[in-house]
Amino acid sequence: MAVVNEAVEKTLTVTVNGREVKAAPGQTVLEVARSIGVEIPTLCHDDRLEPYGACRLCLVEVEGARGPVPACATKVGDGMTVQTNTDKIRRLRKFVIELLLSNHPLDCPVCEAAGDCRLQDYAYEYEVNMSPWGWHPLQFESRDDHPNIARNPNRCILCGRCVRICRDVMGIGCWGFTNRGYDTIIDTPYNLPLEEVGCVSCGQCISTCPVGALSMKRSRYAARHWQTDKTTTICPYCGVGCEVVVHTHRDALVRTTATVGRGVNNGNLCVKGRFGFDFQNSPDRLTAPLVRDENGDLVPTTWDVALDRVEQNFKRIKAESGGSAFAVLASAKCTNEENYVLQKFTRAVLGTNNMDHCARL
């Protein structure tokens, strides 16, 4: 046991861009660099997935290695010396991005990902020449019949993240690579509709897509990434307690996302957490108190009138029958603070312990 612990606790010393860093065995160059704030660009990497090493954007120079190595898939070794941002590395990355852009549609003005697009970010950061190899945008026709998941294969950079998150994280496998070479496309088996290949509409593929190939269909054209206010809160559905980021614009909820590396959900959401919040902006929301009028209809009124009615009836019934004539239901949808004050109201003000909620239902 002691031997095992020693091995686990052993720390390695790595030099990144001239700076010595302590690292744990098993960590990748990418992880160690990030731990000291050194950003390495990645397109095919997602912390929720295993290293893939396909996009070649995270190439770094390691002293003694035969050539550049992918930082996402290279484990650190003791005494390793890494350079992440040399002229040579920058040239290589620029070359990769230029190749990707040579058949990329460049429809950024109407692309959902604009402002939240890795390819756009890196093209800017690496000052790429837009079309040194000519520009031959892809012209695929694709099925786009899912109610929530918008597909645009022409924007796809074939990083395979959607394929891997569906297969490895979700345990399903709706997506795969189809055709070869220049004709390669991400598709469902036999080009079937997503609903027929086991899709649970979680939108995890959208969450990992680094570009605009997969996007949220129902919030298209609602607001740009940079126009929305973002508030981190907890999903109101099941009891798992996923952290969600609520994007709002002009006092409306535009979309929800989750942040990889945060919360019990680590950036993952389900169909309800990603596509289930239309109720927030619904015109059917109650916006004023209602009281029953002499005809027996519920009609809108002011808070004063509604609360007067509550006060009078609660006081009357309490005076006539005591607290035991009341029953109160709390809510598994309300906050702790609200449930606390409701039980206090029930026990201390109404004077009864007839209090329950749908914990059993």
């Binding site: 509409s201 206010d229 289930g276 004023a288 009836n313 809510s331 603070e337 209090m355």
Partner: protein, 540 residues
């Protein structure tokens, strides 16, 4: 949950019983899938071939309502083979002898006859679970929503204690809570018998403490009524007024006709919600509440983690956060409260609630540093967190159980309250579907969800469908003793012959019009929503 969500994949064996995890707790299920990829073994006990059953190494398709028999059969085999954890039993538990005697009443073969799972599969499940170094149990309403719900839970606890599979990493008993803050609503005393922190309302010390904190004399010093008992008390005239905050019993409670009759009889009904729900339609006064995106506060999740809910939008129209509405009514009744914010309320919660003693809004903003399984930055504290410097408790019962020693219970199998008959030859079991949620108040507003599942469906086996002349996607009538509804038929191999399944999300075909409110668990007062005898007919 005794353990954390991130702890689930630490187990070598995961035993899921009565939880359709991928649909009801989809993101938590990802930890099960991760464990499978890491080589863990999955056992699923569920009457239906749910998604997890398809991924499982062993699926135990028990008859609804026979959990005690299945678990007893497993435990009998554990003891017969000598796989029990004698050290754990000696050091941490009591009443083992009486429990062992109770196992004498059922052989594995007898258990198999009752629950319908082959005896060899029961033995195999027992071996996998008992002999693993680390095994986690996940359970949900498939265990609890029976008139023997308490016995089912105690049987799960017996199994974990018998094998010592509790109180450490990858070893736990993990009930999955179904709603965003159902854990917190219980913690805060939204129950008839306890103040916040499970302090008993009939305990003189607890009463004295709350009276001092609240500056009142409490009138009621006895346990109150559960929701099922309230409904009956309205019928007898004992309850004259109800105040319902954010609940929709017309769809969530069993025997809808009875619930509707009852709500119609309430002399003065106040309903507070974000929509005019099926329940609010019966109200005398409806108070508009803010949604959870429009207010600050906290939710407590299934792993007991208290997390911050943050305001992203202004309340719609005149609506207000529920706590403000409650305070307005309280003050009109002379309470003299002066809470300025949710944070104010949490200060009082922490002062009177031992498990929340160390909870402050500022601590909830911090990333938890040393929590064993956090590969990600997780905020929020897991209770018990009694003091300001307490880091929270990811794993319960690691040294001792709440009561000291874990108590083995001698449990006998009792059959479901409602059995099939020539008139009602099929068993209906209810639950949730992935795409919709609870009474549908929120999800059925979502176009993206309605597009996926627009209507209520009843899952029925190919054999029963063929026999009854029912086609996939065709409307049918499902009838029980209490009423009838008209969903569409979903012909599938997820259910075996004799079994049908429906979710309770749909107002136009409410499954709870069929379920019964008569058979309650004697202790938990939970209704038997998982077993109802029905008939299904094609509608031409």
């Amino acid at each position: 949950m005794t353990n954390s969500i991130k702890d689930l994949h630490e187990a070598q064996v995961i035993f899921v019983v009565g939880s359709n995890t991928t649909e009801a707790h989809p993101v938590l299920a990802l930890e099960v899938i991760k464990a499978l990829r890491g080589g863990a073994t999955l056992i699923v006990a569920d009457p239906r071939r749910i998604d997890l059953a398809r991924k499982a190494h062993l699926h135990l398709p028990l008859r609804p309502g026979t959990n005690v028999a299945l678990l007893k059969g497993m435990m009998r085999h554990v003891v017969d083979m000598g796989w029990q954890d004698d050290d754990f039993i000696a050091e941490r538990t009591e009443n083992y002898e009486a429990f062992c005697e109770s196992l004498e009443s059922m052989t594995v073969e007898q258990a198999s006859d009752i629950c319908g799972v082959p005896a060899d599969d029961i033995r195999r499940a027992a071996e996998l679970y008992a002999t693993a170094d680390r095994a986690n149990i996940l359970y949900a309403m498939g265990i609890t929503q029976h008139h023997t719900g308490t016995n089912n839970v105690l049987s799960v606890a017996n199994l974990a204690m018998l094998t010592g599979q509790i109180g450490g990493p990858g070893k736990g008993v993990n009930p999955l809570r179904g709603q965003s803050n159902v854990q917190g609503a219980c913690d805060m005393g939204g129950l008839p018998d306890v103040f916040s922190g499970y302090q008993k309302v009939d305990n003189p010390d607890a009463i004295a403490k709350m009276e001092a904190a609240w500056g009142v004399t409490l009138a009621d010093r006895e346990k109150g009524m559960t929701v099922m008992e309230m409904m009956h008390a309205v019928d007898t005239g004992k309850i004259r007024s109800m105040y319902i905050m954010g609940e929709n019993p017309v769809l969530s409670d069993p025997d809808q006709h009875h619930v509707e009759d009852t709500l119609g009889k309430v002399e003065f009904l106040v309903v507070q919600d974000i929509f005019l729900t099926e329940t609010a339609e019966f109200a005398d006064v409806v108070l508009p509440a803010a949604s959870s995106f429009e207010k600050d506060g906290t939710f407590t999740n299934t792993e007991r983690r208290i997390q911050r809910v943050r305001k992203a939008l202004e309340p719609r129209g005149e609506s207000m956060p529920d706590w403000r509405i409650v305070q307005s009514i309280a003050n009109r009744m002379g309470a003299g409260w002066d809470y300025r914010s949710a944070e104010d309320i949490m200060r009082e919660v922490a002062a009177v609630t031992p498990q929340y003693g160390g909870v402050t809004f500022s601590r909830l903003e911090n990333v938890i540093p040393d929590v064993e399984y956090a590969q990600t930055d997780v905020c929020g504290l897991q209770w018990p967190c009694p003091t300001d410097d307490h880091p929270g408790t990811p794993i319960l019962h690691s040294q001792q159980f709440s009561r000291g020693r874990g108590l083995f219970s001698a449990i006998e199998y009792i059959e479901p309250a409602e059995l099939v008959s020539p008139e009602y030859p099929l068993i209906l079991t209810t639950g949730r579907e992935l795409v919709h949620y609870h009474t549908g108040t929120m999800t059925r507003q979502a176009a993206g969800l309605n597009a996926l599942v627009p209507e209520a469906r009843v899952e029925i086996s190919q054999q029963d469908a063929a026999r009854l002349g029912i086609e996939h996607g065709a409307p049918v009538r499902v009838t029980s003793l209490r009423g009838s509804i008209e969903p569409v038929a979903w012909v599938t191999d997820r259910v075996s012959p004799g079994l049908v399944f429906m979710a309770f999300h749909y107002a136009e075909a409410p499954a709870n019009r069929l379920t019964g409110a008569e058979s309650l668990d004697p202790i938990a007062k939970i209704p038997e929503l998982k077993v109802t005898a029905v008939k299904v007919e094609a509608l031409s």
